[in-house]
């Protein structure tokens, strides 16, 4: 799980960097806005899922650095909490 936090971080960084370089042309923005709704929501859902997973996973790391939840039980509980929270938050944010 912790490994996936690292992977989502690098994927997001690289992906958003590439998109960010290209997004200064108004025509590109116009091209994306015209796409069907399902494609937009789908793309947003993927992006949001990675982002939220990375954010919540990092909070979990900060919790560990403050020496909370460092037992086996704590690791599993916080892990499941991050997973369920990611699913819920990304479902909500993808539909905005």
């Amino acid at each position: 799980m912790s490994d996936a936090v690292r992977i989502t971080g690098s994927t997001l960084a690289r992906g958003l960097l590439l998109i960010g370089i290209q997004l200064n042309s108004a025509s590109l923005v116009f091209t994306i806005a015209v796409l069907p709704v399902t494609a937009k929501v789908g793309a947003k859902a993927m992006l949001v899922f990675l982002f939220i997973y990375h954010s919540l996973g990092s909070i979990r790391h900060l919790v560990w650095d403050s020496r909370y939840a460092l037992t086996l039980k704590g690791v599993y509980t916080s892990g499941y909490a991050v997973l369920t929270e990611t699913v819920l938050d990304s479902l909500y944010l993808a539909t905005i």
Binding site: S2, W64, S66, L72
Partner: protein, 286 residues
């Protein structure tokens, strides 16, 4: 003169051959290669239960033939005539089937740390790992992951021991104890060492850590770091600050990314990850 003759000729004329009057069968047994200890041991009642055959797939590699790749060799053991732990099965295989199978073992009770190996994907001690009685799946036994292998299931722990030596795992003081004789310690200070001193240095945790796999040379690993903390946390030790100073580099401790495989796999139930987090916090606030 005649008695001497009897001795030299090996005749049992004047004295009985054996001190105790044993039955003929036992005499025959004693004269063969069986020792009396083995002959007096209990015989398992083989006919009572049908054989419960379990397959073990064990990693084999022979340094005498180094060009041959390591292989998984299968052995079948009747669990009804074998002890409950993996070490019992390994010893049964070595005694009865394949004497060339090589592994470390000593105490058979989970306190010496010799028999640490990877059983069914997790690092534990073979002497306290129960055999899975489900005979439909083979049991996979590998040596500790990402370690150089001396032979079969025996890892080369030289570097691990060197790393342990490097943290100076002994009491270091600047001032002699106040009453000149005993290093006094309160009960609450002694409680801080619970969960740290029980480490048997079996290397299960360090070899389960992916960070230790990739940076074995420089990263000290959870086992060694937990012992480093054990000495920092000891109220009788006065070199805590210097011990932390030694870890102030990117590798010795900061390769730990809180993966927590160490706590998951410790066969003694200890938590090295927590100890390492404690060291990091102490180093940050010093």
């Amino acid at each position: 003169m005649s008695l001497n003759k009897a001795y030299t000729l090996g005749l049992a004329a004047a004295r009985p051959a054996l001190k105790y009057n044993l039955a003929a069968a036992n005499v025959a047994a004693a004269r063969s290669l069986k020792t009396s200890a083995a002959a007096n041991m209990a015989v398992p009642n083989e006919s009572a239960k049908p054989p419960l055959n379990k397959t073990f797939q064990i990693y084999r590699w022979n340094p005498d033939k180094p060009t041959e790749k390591p292989t998984l060799q299968s052995y079948t053991v009747d669990l009804n005539s074998c002890g409950p732990m993996i070490l019992d099965a390994l010893l049964k295989i070595k005694n009865e089937m394949d004497p060339t199978l090589t592994f470390r073992r000593s105490c058979r009770e989970g306190i010496c740390g010799s028999c640490a190996m990877n059983i069914e994907g997790g690092n534990t001690l073979a002497c306290i790992a129960k055999i899975d009685r489900n005979t439909s799946k083979p049991s996979k036994i590998y040596p500790l992951p990402h370690m150089y292998i001396v032979k079969d299931l025996v890892p080369d722990l030289t570097h691990f021991y060197k790393q342990y030596k490097s943290i100076e795992p002994y009491l270091k003081q600047k001032n002699a104890p106040t009453d000149g004789r005993e290093n006094l310690q309160t009960i609450s200070d002694r409680k801080k060492l619970d969960g740290l001193y029980e480490c048997i240095l079996c290397a299960c945790c360090s070899t389960s850590c992916p960070s230790y796999w990739w940076n074995q040379d420089e990263y000290l690993g959870p086992a060694v770091l937990m012992q480093a903390y054990r000495w920092m946390a000891d109220s009788r030790d006065q070199f805590g600050r210097e011990r932390r100073e030694r870890l102030q580099n990117p590798f010795s401790i900061y390769r730990c990314h809180t993966i927590m495989n160490c706590a998951k796999t410790c066969p003694k139930g200890l938590n090295p990850g927590k100890a390492i987090a404690q060291i990091k916090k102490d180093m940050a606030f010093e």
